[in-house]
Symmetry: C2
Subunit: 581 residues, 2 copies
């Protein structure tokens, strides 16, 4: 297959977005950063949200923090944070004045989630204790509440009618992404596919506010765990922290007893020993199941707004699912999962290294979702995690590579980066500044097309994807799609994917590669039809007739696809042959 | 029936025991008081336990504390207390030296309960935090424990063989009463029935150490509740605190949210109001059920030594039963039961007013148990509580009365004693010094016989027992035995008792009254057979042949009883006629 003739030159848009994307990530992942948050007493109406480019300059100089540093900061910040349900008619300034009698408010924002809510970050943790001490238990139903005192409050006006007059317009931070059809509209106004990809990233990625809410959700769950295990921490992992999270994605969190266990058996001086009497169980798994079970019950019975609590304790990784209404998140709570957090850190590093990484991942995942290749329900679909790993692998394979292999990251690791977890080597560099920036200058336009071409032609029958080595490796077993778990090297992260789903992916990738190759710059403006990335976000069967016809005129890929679908060919190789005819 | 010719003169034994009985009660109920507890560093062998008379002098001058004062002190003391499981070979002094590096030890004692345990009371609560900080998590099974850090520890010798040589003899405080057959032996050596009754009281009543353990059990459960409800308190009620508890009886405890609810809705200044978001439930009962359910699960899954946890949530008073191995108690945990605590206080007052009260109750209850009139299993049996109330009523009816009626106690109440709970008037005086001591000087010998005679002749068919008024009242409904709940005046505390059980009680009371009347002072020493109270503690069918024959010679009551048993006569009145023939 012929290579496309050169990439489109970097647009100004891309140039401007690239840096803030990176800076925002390391300062806490979001592209629409902290500048948006109000400070104490300030309750001004803020500008409607834009692509975030205007915030770039302020954030350029933020140094690249390590994953651990960001997590520690965020967790600590969340401990100083409360959430208040507000009346629909609100004078934001008065709320802040009222609260500031308990301490300095460092930041805050408002959002809509079954009513208006305010997230308030105090400068000092003890301001919360002061507030809690002054707040009452719901009085109307005094005897029918579970008197668990959390950091969730309700703010009320005593005389709503007279006070409503005082209301001032408030800015509400969006906590969900725009619908695909609105996204397509926005994409059409861009001047390059690269720009389109950054716009998509900007619309879909987690915001600063949303990340704070996620850490708050973890911190509120921690309050339940801490009740019995004072040294425990509830940490978010996966998409909430790996820089690849999309607005609206679930919050994966786990209960970390790490510190508790490190403290073991200190008091051993003299001829005596003293230890805690503790419930002993025949396995760690059983202990974790019991702990999760009880915490699940606590959330269910005591936690305000914790609903639909579901215990899934017999899964490989026992967990409790619940819906946290105050923050609006669907949460999955499991117990200490050190490898999962390493996996999040690895993606965090990749996401921070080059802004093209996240832009490409978000585009590919959005494309996969539109075309039914991924699905939020469990099944034989490719997962977002697998897709992300495929993009990483693709970026490792570029020449020059855009991101390093895991083995290369391991070489850069220093002593404190050395971690062996459950017998698996999870060592890699944590300090981003030690990683040499890529010399690759390919545009996202090029990378997007090449990605689909690369996987449209990948020999899935024979080869597996190995991010540690950054090269194709013979498949160790016969799963249709084999992607090595980067740390637990005996596991295939895409074991769930069956042959038909893989074939669908390959067929779609080829179709997409072909569309991108045929993309006619001059045509798209005249037609006023979705073009570039926008065109890829419409299910192929559903795009309008003209567009369709244009496509079919090409090499009749639509016909071929239908044919393939009906034949249900069962190997990527035969599929390849069919297309090459 | 003829009155016995005069009471036996007060023996020296009785004179000496009477005061300590009282003093120990007000200082915390037990007859073998605080003097027994070691103080810091002291690990001397203590004298074997005696009737406790030698401790009388030290306690005489303790002022009569109110029930609330005693509870508050005990609860606070329990918060400063820990429990340590020790090796069987122990050098007590070294253990104390070791612990005193964390703070001053105010008192301690050792006891046997599935191994040797030490209860340690620190002077300061923060000594426990210091100790907890230094103590390790069991290391051998590091990953298979539930890391809940309680106040239960295990003390180990690193080198048991060499250190065993250093062991010193230790005194173990008994936590259970002697078997009935041993009791009978002891009783036979006394010189009067009064003395016998005090010996029984002394052997069976809760000890200072046992009371501490009970409060510690509550305090440990409180740690679970406090995790979510920081202002909550777990309070013992019933036999653990009402001065009528027997060694080995269950610990009834309830979770008190009282303080939490009093604090409601303080922050109401200005035009705003702020309240906690809390789980709301359609009824208080449902809230209590949910809270008990979760705390039950916590105890079951996290609580070291909490076993056989049983949730009985659909009972009139929802509760969680569990066995607390570290203290050796069977516990019943319910939620806020203000009337139950008022009931405990009332009995506490009666128990403190005159030492004869507790001595008579313990004797009657022991008698009832031996003869199968009471049973620890639920059923149609008379409960210990009902029996106790019958004794109280009997003592109110003496002339002059030995204890006042509840209405008289209410007249003495001041403003702070006024309590209306759930619409029921629970007001009565709390200050014991306001109650005029009785002028009644009857001996226990007399009172015991009169008790059985009184209830052997009571018209249960027509009359009910009302402690508020201190007189028989027409039965408001047809339950065989009707004893007015002193506070919830529409409830009969002995509703469970059926006609056959009541008849059995009446028959036994008559038989016993007759035995006591026939009691031959001169005979008993010659025969070397159980006499007086001892004779009453042998099931009538089982006493030896000679004794039996003597009895039967009387009026053939045994024959009559058999006859009655076989006829299953169904009213006390017909029974009465049968006996009177």
């Amino acid at each position: 297959m012929a290579h496309r003739a050169g990439g489109r030159a970097l647009s100004l848009m891309r140039g401007r977005l690239r840096l803030p994307g990176l800076a925002a990530v390391v300062g806490g992942c979001a592209g629409r950063g902290q500048a948006r948050l109000g400070s104490s007493g300030a309750a001004v109406q803020r500008a409607p949200r834009t692509a975030g480019a205007e915030e770039a300059d302020a954030e350029v100089n933020i140094r690249k923090k390590t994953f651990a540093e960001v997590q520690t900061e965020r967790l600590e910040q969340a401990e100083r944070t409360i959430l208040i349900k507000c009346p629909s008619k609100l004078n934001e300034k008065k709320l802040l004045q009222y609260l500031s009698s308990h301490g300095n408010i460092k930041s805050h924002f408002l959002f809509e989630n079954r009513g208006i809510h305010a997230l308030i970050e105090f400068s000092e943790k003890n301001s919360i204790a002061s507030l809690q001490d002054a707040v009452g238990i719901p009085s109307a139903v005094e005897h029918h509440v579970v008197p668990f005192k959390s950091r969730l409050f309700t703010f009320m006006l005593k005389n709503p009618v007279s006070q409503a007059a005082e209301e001032t317009p408030v800015h509400l931070s969006p906590q969900s992404h725009i619908p695909v059809k609105d996204l397509i509209q926005k994409l059409c106004h861009a001047d390059s596919i690269s720009s389109q990809m950054y716009i998509l990233l900007n619309e879909y990625q987690l915001t600063e506010e949303n990340i704070r809410l996620r850490f708050l959700a973890c911190s509120l769950v921690r309050d339940f765990a801490r009740a019995y295990f004072p040294d425990s921490v509830v940490r978010p992992f996966g998409s909430s922290v790996n820089t690849f999270g999309k607005l609206g994605c679930d919050v994966d969190m786990f209960l970390d007893f790490h510190d508790t266990q490190k403290r073991a058996t200190k008091m051993k001086k003299g001829p005596f020993e003293m230890e805690y009497q503790m419930k002993r169980l025949p396995s760690e798994r059983l202990a974790n199941q019991k702990i999760l079970s009880v915490i699940g019950d606590c959330l269910d019975n005591f936690g305000p707004g914790c609903v639909s609590v579901q215990k899934i304790l017999n899964a490989r990784c026992p967990l409790v699912k619940f819906s946290h209404q105050p923050t609006g998140f669907q949460c999955d709570l499991s117990v200490s999962n050190s490898i999962a957090i390493k996996s999040s850190e690895l993606l965090y590093i990749y996401g921070c290294l080059d802004s093209r990484v996240r832009a490409l991942v978000f585009s590919v995942r959005c494309w996969a979702r539109v075309h039914g290749l991924t699905n939020s329900a469990p099944g034989n679909w490719i997962t977002n995690f697998s897709l992300t790993m495929m993009v990483m692998f693709f970026l490792q394979k570029r020449s020059p590579p855009i991101i390093p292999t895991l083995d290369q990251l391991k070489v850069l690791a220093d002593d404190k980066d050395m971690h062996v977890i459950g017998g698996y080597d999870c060592s890699f560099v944590s300090d981003l500044s030690k990683i040499k920036p890529t010399e690759n200058t390919e545009t996202l336009d090029v990378l997007l097309g090449e990605f689909f071409e690369y996987f449209g032609n990948f020999d899935f029958r024979k080869n597996s994807i190995n991010l540690r080595k950054g090269k194709e490796v013979n498949k160790p077993e016969s799963s249709p799609l084999y992607i090595w778990n980067p740390f637990e090297q005996d596991l295939n992260i895409s074991k769930n994917v069956n042959q038909p789903q893989l074939e669908k992916f390959v067929a779609m990738a080829r179709e997409t590669a072909w569309i991108l190759q045929k993309e006619d710059k001059t045509q798209r403006m005249i037609n006023k039809e979705p073009w570039g990335l926008a065109a890829l976000m419409i299910p192929f069967g559903k795009s309008n007739h003209n567009k369709m016809k244009n496509r079919v005129k090409g090499i009749g890929s639509e016909t071929i696809r239908s044919l393939l679908d009906s034949l249900k060919l069962n190997s990527a190789s035969s599929l390849q042959k069919a297309v090459e005819k």
